[in-house]
Structures are given as structure tokens and as C-alpha cells.
Amino acid sequence: MIPVEMYLIVSTLLFFIGVFGFLVRKNLVGMLMSIELILNAVNINFVAFNRYLFPEQIEGYAYSLFVIVVAAAETAVAIAIFFNVYRRKGSETVKSIRELKH
């Protein structure tokens, strides 16, 4: 059986790739994808710990399903916002939206 550390290494890598992408990507869609990576890293943790620590229970699986659903909804909203941003600004880079500072 593959030890749990392997899963954790994968999820950690995935998480930091996501954080790195969120911090440096110029493109809004790229940033959104980075967020998805972070969420998926969390999902892997949920599933792995459930499988290794409490195999007879299913809370971890259930939560990961929740996360997937929420991520899908969030993506839908975010994509809608990005479309509007693109229509107004003619650009899809993150630098073009600074209005929230006001």
C-alpha cells in the first residue's frame, strides 16, 4: 500500500503550485485555475486522511464532494465576472481591475 506521505507530498506540491500561480499569473482565468488547484489539494488531503485514518466512515469523501460542488459554482460566478470585465475593459489581465480599492 502506498504510504499516506506520498499523497500528502502530492497535495502539498499541488497547493504551492496553486498559490504560486495565484500570485504570479497575469491572466484572470489562470488565477481561477490556480484556485482550483488549491481546492483540489485540499480534496486530496480529505480523501487520503479519510481512507487511512477512518476507513469505515465517509465524512472526508462527503466534504470533498461539497468542495467540488462549491468550486463549480464559484467558477461559474467567476467566469461571469471575467466576461463582464473583458467586455468593459477589453482586457482579461488582473491589473485591469483595481476598482475595489476605492
Binding site: 500570485l23 504570479v24 488565477m31 488582473v94 491589473k95 483595481r98 475595489l100
Partner: protein, 663 residues
């Protein structure tokens, strides 16, 4: 006694309410209505005052059966402010103190104020309509009456100080009544600033005295202790400041406040300029009541002055004597009739100061040569002077109303046009010159004999000389106005000068009657320093000498000014230097102006302004500059870039995580 308690609050409250009422609703009334309201109010107050004073003197209130001295009665005394931290027990009260001098002042103030209220109806009516500021005028007159009554009835020195400033303000407002006239504006500012400057010394004096005595109360301050000293003297015993006894110094500082209000040299400069105000208010404030506040102050604290600060009293004598002579000399050279009267007022108030200055308190059992006669004489002269000087001012008002000028040159030969004014003015001049049977003869005679009795021969000579000068300048004024040479404009003019209508004539007649009779009032029985009756003997030597000098003064005035001739011009040519100096008031105004310009503005104000601009403003600017820099440096922090925020967030998490792990 019970009746007095009912009437007493009325005396203080009614004029104050009148002031508030007229002040707040003045747009609702025409000038005439406001005048009627104000006059009705002051009439009620005057009757209350008469009632209280008569009850006090003759109704057995002041002197219960069997007592030999008038009692000092505190009718009411309400605690107003308590200073509990620094000086436990030190309270400021507002009260009503009745003793012979305050009862007498009640009569003086209410009589003059009532007469001036009535007179103003005529004076403010010109060219067929009432003056447009008449509501304001009556409103301020009420304020003044309130303040002056509060001042004389004060139970403690702090209450007196409060009302002292209030009379200063109302004087300021009345001098500046014609606020479109630049001269009136500068005069009212001058009066206010000069008296305020003097009041600063008064306040310092109050603070010193109350710091040691731990009380403001007049009765407590004046009470004689076992050792024959007053509370003030006992509590400051042995203390000195720069070689002077602290008591003397503090009392002298208090007197300086009085000198400001009473226009003693060198604070006299404001009074002649104060004549820019309406003439009736000059009669009330700058002749009869407010200007004697300084005399009243010294009289109020007389036991303290006489027993514990005789050196201060001596200084008062010298200042008074100098002022009397000095002002009389200036009065001779003035040509504006109101200014002549103003300088005459200064000179007469100085007489009262001198009389207080030469008086000493005789303690029982100790043989004293000095007597308290001066105190009685001073208060007597205050009373008689208030009456005849108010009358002279009101006469001037009548004349100015006709002639529409203050200058003597525009007058002359008015006797046949204005007989009533002529008669009243004549009575006033005879009274101030000291001719019997008019009141001035008696009071001035007592002042002179008080000087002589207390071995102040030098002062006596100066005061007699001043009396001669007084007679001369008053009759110079009298002959100039009513005889001399008739102004040719009168004969051809459509409006010939004439006696005024009854509101202006009635007060003149009332004052003329009072001037004739009040010399016979038994002042020695009523008003004395010890509150016990003293015997007033006529000193025939003094009376003879003063009558002779007065007659001489009048005679010279008759020769020079009864008919137009060239003698005055010749004399003026001979004494050109003195005449020019006197007509410029010996340049005292210029000296003050120079001191103010070079010392106060040039040195003190400039350095303070420098400090303000560079240190205080600089510090404030530094604070502003720092805040500005800090915000402009930190404003880039909020850029609106999501990724920048995310970086900060991540780094924050890293830092907190590291700390959580390793600490």
C-alpha cells in the same frame, strides 16, 4: 426687615430682566415703546431702592432700638461657585449687602438712572423722529443700571469684580452707541482697553488678598480682630514683597483698578474721549455713577486701607491731589463743553479720593489725632457731585441739542433763549464752585477741613487752589455759553434755540432742587467710617478761604468772559506754552500712545507674534507635515492589485506560522 427681603431681589432682578426683555424682543417695539418699557422698569426699581434706603436709614432696620451704630446687613447671600480643591471653604457668592454707603449709592444710582431714562426721551427725539437705535440704547441703560446696582450691593470682592466688568461693558456699548462715527468707535475701544488694563491690577490684588485671607467677603475682611487689625492685615502680617509690605502692595493694586474706573492719573485718558457717547449716558455713567466706582471701592475696604495699608492710602492722597489739580488746569484750556465737564469730573472725583486718602480710622481707646471726617466728606461729595454734575451734563445735552455742536465758539448769548437751562446750569456751576447754600459748598468744605485736620497742609493748599480753578473754568464755561457774544446765526435761523420739552426739562429741575437741598442732609449722622454718628463742625477758616478763592475764580472768569474782549487772547499769548500744552491735555495721550506703540506693540507683541508664528505654528506645521508624509508613504500599500494583497497575506501567514512553530 422682612419688607426689605421682599424688595431686595427686585432691585437686582428687575433691571436684568428688563435688559433681557428689551434685548431679545427689541425688533417688536418702536423706539418710543422700548423707552416707555425701560423707564417703567427703572421707576419700579427706583421706588424699591428708595424704600430700602429709607427703611435702612430711618425705619429702624439699619439702627435697631438702642444701637449707636448702623448695622451691616447681608440681606441675602447665595453661593454661586465653590473652590473646593485648592482652597476649601473659599466660595464666591452673589448677595446683597446693605450698609450706609451702599444704601446711599442705591439712592444716587436709581435717581440719576431714572432721570436719565426720562431725559433720553427728549434727547433721542430729533428732527421729528426717534433715533433708530433707541431700543438698543434703553436695553444697555437697563444693563448698566443692573450692573451698577450689583456693584454697590456686592457682598464680596469677587461679585464686585464681576459687576465691575459688566459696568465696563455697558459703558463701552454706550460710548460706541453712534457706531457709524469713527471717533465714537475709537473712544469706546480706548475706554474699554484702558479700564481693562487697570482691572488687571485689581484682579491681581484680589487674588493676593484672597489667597491669604481665604475669603472674598467684605464683612469678614473688614472685621477688626482683637489686636485691632483687620483680617487682611492679620493674614498677611510680616509678609513683604520687594521691600514693601504685601498688604500695602495688594491694597494698592486693588486701588489701581479703582483708579482706572475713576479716571485717576495716569488712567484718566479714556474719560474725555468717552464724551463721544450720547450726552444722557455721559451724565449717568461718566459723571454720576460708574466713575465713582473706584471711590466706592476704596470706601468699601476703608478699614483695611486705613488700619493695615496707610501707605497705600497716602499714595491715593498724592495721586488724587495731583489728578485734581492737573485735570483742573486742562479743563481751563478746553473748548468742547463736554470735555470741560469731563475734566471737571476727573478733578472732582480726585477730590473724593483725596478725602478718603487723608482720613484715618480711629480705634477705640487709642488716642489719634486723625479723624474719619474725610470718609464722610468723600461720600457726601460723591452724593452732591452726582446730582449737580448729572444736571450740568443734562444741561449740556439741551444746549447741544439746540446748537448741534459741542464747541464753545458756536455758543454765546443763550441766556435769553433758554432761561430754564440757564438757571439750572447756573445752580450747577455755583454748587461745583462751592458757593453756599448749594450742596457743593458743604461737601467740598468738609473735604478741605478734613485735609487740614489730618495735618495734610500741602494737600490742603493744592485742593484749595483746585477749588479756585474749578470756579474759574466752570464760570468760563457758563459765561461762554450764556453771555459772551451771541452767535449771529441764532437771530436769522429758523429754529431759534429754545428750552426743551418737559422730558428734558423735568430732570433738570429735579436735580436743581436736589442740588439746593442736599447740602443740608445730615450726612455726619448717616454715613461714617465707623457707622456711628459724628459731629460735623463748620471750620470757618476753611470755609472763608475756599469762598474767597471761589469768588476770585468767578471774578476772573467774569472779567475775561462775560463780554467779548481781547483780554483772554492777550493772556493766552503771554502763556502760550502752557496754553498749548493744556489744550493738548499735557500730551499724556501721546505718551500712552507712544508707550503702546514702541513698547507694547514694538517689543512685547512682536516677540509674542514671533513665538506664535515660529514656535507654536511651527510645531503645528511639523505635526501636519509628519502626518502628510506618513500617509503619502503608506498609501501605495492599498494599490487595488489583488495579487499584491495576496502576497502580503501569504507572507503574513508564513511569518505567523514561523513564529507559532519556533516560539
Amino acid at each position: 426687615m422682612e419688607n426689605i427681603i421682599t424688595f431686595a431681589p427686585c432691585v437686582l432682578l428687575l433691571p436684568f430682566l428688563m435688559f433681557l426683555f428689551l434685548g431679545l424682543t427689541n425688533y417688536k417695539w418702536t423706539g418710543k415703546q422700548a423707552g416707555i418699557i425701560g423707564t417703567a422698569g427703572i421707576t419700579v426699581v427706583a421706588f424699591c431702592c428708595y424704600y430700602i434706603a429709607l427703611q435702612y436709614f430711618f425705619g429702624g432696620v439699619g439702627k435697631p432700638d438702642g444701637a449707636t451704630a448702623y448695622q451691616t446687613i447681608t440681606v441675602f447671600n447665595m453661593e454661586w461657585m465653590k473652590m473646593s480643591v485648592a482652597h476649601p471653604g473659599l466660595t464666591i457668592s452673589i448677595g446683597f449687602l446693605l450698609d450706609p454707603i451702599s444704601a446711599m449709592m442705591l439712592i444716587v444710582i436709581s435717581t440719576v438712572s431714572l432721570m436719565v431714562h426720562i431725559y433720553s426721551f427728549g434727547y433721542m427725539f430729533e428732527h421729528g423722529h426717534y433715533d433708530e437705535g433707541m431700543q438698543r440704547y434703553y436695553c444697555v441703560l437697563s444693563l448698566f443700571s443692573f450692573a451698577m446696582l450689583g456693584l454697590v450691593l456686592a457682598t464680596n470682592i469677587f461679585q464686585m469684580y464681576i459687576f465691575w466688568e459688566l459696568v465696563g461693558v455697558s459703558s463701552f456699548l454706550l460710548i460706541g452707541y453712534y457706531y457709524k462715527k469713527p471717533a465714537a468707535i475709537s473712544a469706546c475701544k480706548k475706554a474699554f482697553i484702558v479700564t481693562r488694563f487697570a482691572d488687571m491690577f485689581y484682579l491681581i490684588g484680589i487674588l493676593i488678598v484672597s489667597y491669604y485671607t481665604k475669603t472674598f467677603d467684605f464683612v469678614e475682611m473688614n472685621t477688626l480682630a482683637e489686636n485691632g487689625h483687620t483680617l487682611v492685615g492679620n493674614s498677611m502680617e510680616g509678609l513683604t514683597f520687594m521691600g514693601l509690605s504685601l498688604t500695602t502692595l495688594a491694597m494698592f493694586l486693588i486701588f489701581l483698578g479703582g483708579a482706572g474706573k475713576s479716571a485717576m492719573f495716569p488712567f484718566h485718558i479714556w474719560l474725555p474721549d468717552a464724551m463721544e457717547g450720547p450726552t444722557p449716558s455721559s451724565a449717568l455713567i461718566h459723571a454720576a455713577t460708574m466713575v465713582v466706582a473706584g471711590v466706592f471701592l476704596v470706601a468699601r475696604l476703608f478699614p483695611v486701607f486705613a488700619i493695615d495699608a496707610p501707605n497705600a492710602l497716602e499714595a491715593i492722597t498724592y495721586i488724587g491731589a495731583f489728578t485734581a489739580l492737573f485735570a483742573a488746569v486742562i479743563a481751563v484750556a478746553q473748548t468742547d463743553i463736554k470735555r470741560v465737564l469731563a475734566f471737571s469730573t476727573i478733578s472732582q472725583i480726585a477730590y473724593m479720593m483725596v478725602a478718603l486718602g487723608v482720613a484715618r480710622f480711629s480705634i477705640e481707646g487709642v488716642e489719634h489725632v486723625e479723624t474719619t471726617l474725610g470718609f464722610t466728606a468723600s461720600m457726601w461729595h460723591l452724593f452732591t457731585h452726582a446730582m449737580f454734575k448729572a444736571m450740568l451734563f443734562l444741561c449740556c445735552g439741551c444746549i447741544i441739542h439746540c446748537v448741534e455742536s459741542n464747541e464753545m465758539a458756536k455758543m454765546g448769548g443763550l441766556k435769553k433763549y433758554m432761561p430754564i437751562t440757564w438757571a439750572c446750569f447756573g445752580i450747577g456751576c455755583l454748587a461745583i464752585a462751592g458757593i453756599p447754600p448749594f450742596s457743593g459748598f458743604f461737601s467740598k468744605g468738609e473735604i478741605l477741613s478734613a485735609c487740614l485736620e489730618n495735618q495734610c497742609t500741602g494737600i490742603y493748599v493744592i485742593m484749595t487752589l483746585t477749588a479756585g480753578l474749578t470756579a474759574f473754568y466752570m464760570f468760563r464755561l457758563f459765561y461762554h455759553i450764556f453771555y459772551y457774544e451771541e452767535n449771529p446765526e441764532y437771530a436769522t435761523s429758523e429754529h431759534k434755540p429754545h428750552d426743551q420739552k418737559w422730558p428734558m426739562t423735568l430732570p433738570l429741575i429735579v436735580f436743581a432742587v436736589l442740588t439746593c437741598v442736599c447740602g443740608f442732609f445730615p450726612f455726619g449722622q448717616l454715613i461714617t467710617a465707623s457707622h456711628e454718628a459724628i459731629e460735623i463742625e463748620t471750620n470757618w477758616f476753611v470755609e472763608g478761604v475756599s469762598l474767597t478763592t471761589a469768588a476770585l475764580g468767578i471774578g476772573i472768569a467774569y472779567v475775561l468772559y462775560y463780554k467779548k474782549n481781547d483780554k483772554p487772547a492777550k493772556i493766552m499769548a503771554k502763556m502760550q506754552g502752557l496754553c498749548t500744552a493744556a489744550s493738548h491735555r499735557f500730551y499724556i495721550d501721546e505718551v500712552w500712545y507712544g508707550i503702546t506703540r514702541s513698547f507694547i506693540f514694538g517689543i512685547i507683541c512682536k516677540s509674542i507674534a514671533w513665538f506664535d508664528r515660529h514656535c507654536i505654528d511651527g510645531f503645528m506645521d511639523l505635526m501636519g507635515w509628519l502626518t502628510n508624509r506618513a500617509s503619502s508613504e503608506s498609501k501605495d500599500f492599498q494599490s487595488g492589485h489583488v495579487q499584491q494583497y495576496a502576497w502580503v497575506f501569504v507572507m503574513g501567514v508564513v511569518v505567523i506560522g514561523t513564529l507559532a512553530l519556533y516560539l
